[in-house]
Amino acid sequence: MFGRLSLDYLPHEPATIGAAVAMPLALIAIAVALTYYKKWRWLWREWLTSLDAKKIGVMYIVVAIVMLLRGVADAVMLRMQTALAVGDNPGLFSVDTFQQVFTAHGTIMIFFVAMGLMFGIINVVMPLQIGARDVAFPWLNSVSFWLFVAGMILVNGALLFGGFSNGGWLGYPPLTELQYNPGPGVDYWIWALQIAGIGSLLSGINFTVTILKKRAPGMTLMKMPIFVWSVLVTMVLVMISFPMLTSALSLLALDRTLDMHFFTSNMGGNPMMYINLIWAWGHPEVYILVLPAFGIYSEVVATFARKKLFGYKTMVAALVAIMFFSFVVWQHHFFTMGAGANVNAFFGIMTMIIAIPTGVKIFNWLFTMYRGRIRFTAPFVWFMCFVVTFTIGGVTGVLMAVPALDFQIHNSMFLVAHFHNVIIGGVVFGYLAGITYWFPKVLGFRLHDRLGRWSAYAWQVGFLLAFLPLYALGLMGAVRRIDHYTDPSWQPFFIVSAVGVLTIALGIGLFVLQIGVSVWQRKKLRDTNGDPWDGRTLEWSVPSPAPHYNFAIQPTVSRIDEWWYQKKDGVARPTRNDYKDIVLPKNSGLGVAIGLLCFVFGGAVIWHLWWLAALAFVGVIVVILVRTFDENTEYTMTAEKLYQEAKEARV
């Protein structure tokens, strides 16, 4: 009846108890505030059940930023530990807590911060940029988001009850097999990622169909904004690679729950196969994270340099090349596992080749800036920090692509520095630039520019302090995930690194402050004409905040940067007859229901409550059937109403 639930699983280390008390308290505070201000109804109607892609996008971003705070708190804990734990000093945390913290840091940052920011920004921007009113399947979009939330709750729930996995962010067996890890931590990890991963997969399908089927008339593929191209390529990567994650995690779950032997160290199982499968997903995953960020940089640099993007066609070619090559490099993550020279050489060479299209993109951005009239606003500062940081990371990546060299630096702090170099420099800076850039389109006012630039500088300086010492430490022999060391000559490096992570935390503080100050001064920062940056693409042609139907009149497109040229040429004001009735999706609470049921399903499997898991599974099928046979899911907005609203927006 109660599976393996037991009170023994309550947290009992000071660090985890603190978090386990703070999290529910924060939730209760939010609930009390919502009740006090009578906002529940508003929250449910305007946000939670909304099928408007922009609102779903904003919810993704909010969740991701909250998770960013959690992930950074983990990072601070890790670096505090390594700054202290030398020689006789055991540091702040026990070995087990330390392992849980680095696992949580990696898992949360990749799956719930980077992926969340990515899907959030795509939801907000992509339909607007292609001149569409919504995504192809609005309800599916809501389901994807709620699956993401269900995974997020599970991953945080582990901290409250049962403990986090200690198997690293990719959970390598045989350590994560039942034999060595019988507790619920690894199961939490598996099901949180599984549920969120299925959400991502559905989003991948949804956005691909949106781009292929819902572009404005006249917008051929080669006239799409470059951000949309990057999204299309990314979603293809999602569709091809996420099934491999689903599969690897499922097989591990089968090992753990049904006593199978895929990756065990006995009965013929082969742990190396898991590592092979998970990296076949894992390598495309890093491109999934970074390509939309590349798209954002392309938009930002063209807008703020006031020039058209240099080499649009080569940008597209580079994206497509990356799409192919990202699937033939995965073995470079385990050069040292024992494959022979032929295999290692093949994958090493492929890895070096993929640096070429990436380099092409860097040069295209630099040439876009050349002779442009650059405005150094916050998004542009993020972009410049990216160019510096990402280039360093790319170069160290090429170093690591040499198998012979990799044998020296594999699994060392050098590796840790390398991938933070590309992921912070490439991904995080990109999404922060994107949030700053498109913020007015969603909320109607700009973010405070100076605080934004300060935040970028703090991140940049903090980044260099935190990770350059790690390169040195890696070459000196410090392995990754180290919680204690004996060589006192390492300590200064670790202390500098800890100062760096605190500086990054300052950067995040400035970012949050920036949002607060901007809300405070929203009247002063108001975007009055819908085009605050003198933009080039269609999203700047509608008022800010964008209406929930995006476009009152379906735009038509005849060239790249359509809006820029429309502004130059001047376009006739639409008359009453240009407006037509449009059909829009009604709100639906069934997406929330699916998320809730999947959360219950995940929790039930983790705790071996099989009857509950079966009930929840049947529940999901019932909800899907209800939705499939519901024929009353849309409503019509009349041309007259659209006309009136557009007239008001102009005044």
Binding site: A136, F137, L140, L201, G204, I205, N206, T208, V209, L212, K213, K214, M239, I240, S241, F242, P243, M244, T246, S247, A248, L251, L254, D255, L258, D259, M260, H261, F262, T264, N266, M267, G268, G269, N270, M273, L277, A280, L625, T628, F629, E631
Partner: protein, 191 residues
């Protein structure tokens, strides 16, 4: 020429792309099976366990089911009620027989003590073939739901759209089975 709006609509493209993701899911499990197929850990290997005759029967039944499904869809597009009903029931019946044979095969193996926890080879066999069987089971439920819808509302544009998706799903499962037949059974037993 068979070119209908159901076939080129956004839901069809979306569903097709879902099938492509399913193809990748199967591909990874196929890869796992191929890597682990000799890892019998002292337990029985493929030639000792599988009867090729049963497998040939299963294959032919599933192929027939796929054919009936195509004919049912054809009848639906030509608005032939009797033909549609006949063929779609035949589709589901053949699918159910296929699934019954497979469950029987699984039960037999487990009964003899060669369940999925015997060895890595059997884990991957049960998972790969069982995953296909799970898809078939979902397809059967889906087909029944569509038949109920047909009984209630007859041919509507909505039935045509939904049945088109089901038909593609069903044909896809037969195509996956070709590779299970080839890799798990033909190559697994004889090569």
């Amino acid at each position: 020429m068979i070119r209908t709006k159901e076939q080129e609509s956004a839901p069809m493209l979306g569903f097709w792309l879902y099938l492509m993701t399913d193809l990748m899911l199967f591909a990874t499990v196929f890869a796992t099976f191929m890597v682990l197929r000799h890892a019998t850990a002292g337990g029985p290997s493929a030639p000792e366990l599988f009867s090729m005759k049963t497998v040939l029967t299963e294959t032919m039944i599933l192929l027939a089911s796929s054919l009936f499904c195509g004919l049912a869809w054809l009848a639906l597009r030509h608005k032939k009620r009797t033909d549609f009903l006949m063929y779609s029931i035949a589709t589901l019946l053949a699918g159910a027989v296929f699934l019954a044979i497979e469950i029987q095969e699984f039960a037999q193996l487990v009964h003899e003590g060669f369940g999925p926890s015997t060895s890595a080879f059997l884990s991957s066999f049960f998972t790969l073939v069982g995953m296909h069987g799970f898809h078939i089971a979902i397809g059967l439920l889906w087909g029944i739901a569509l038949l109920i819808m047909f009984a209630k509302k007859g041919f509507g544009s909505s039935l045509a759209r939904k049945f088109a998706l089901f038909a593609v799903f069903w044909h896809f499962l037969d195509i996956v089975w070709i590779f299970i037949f080839t890799i798990v059974y033909v190559i697994g037993v004889h090569a």
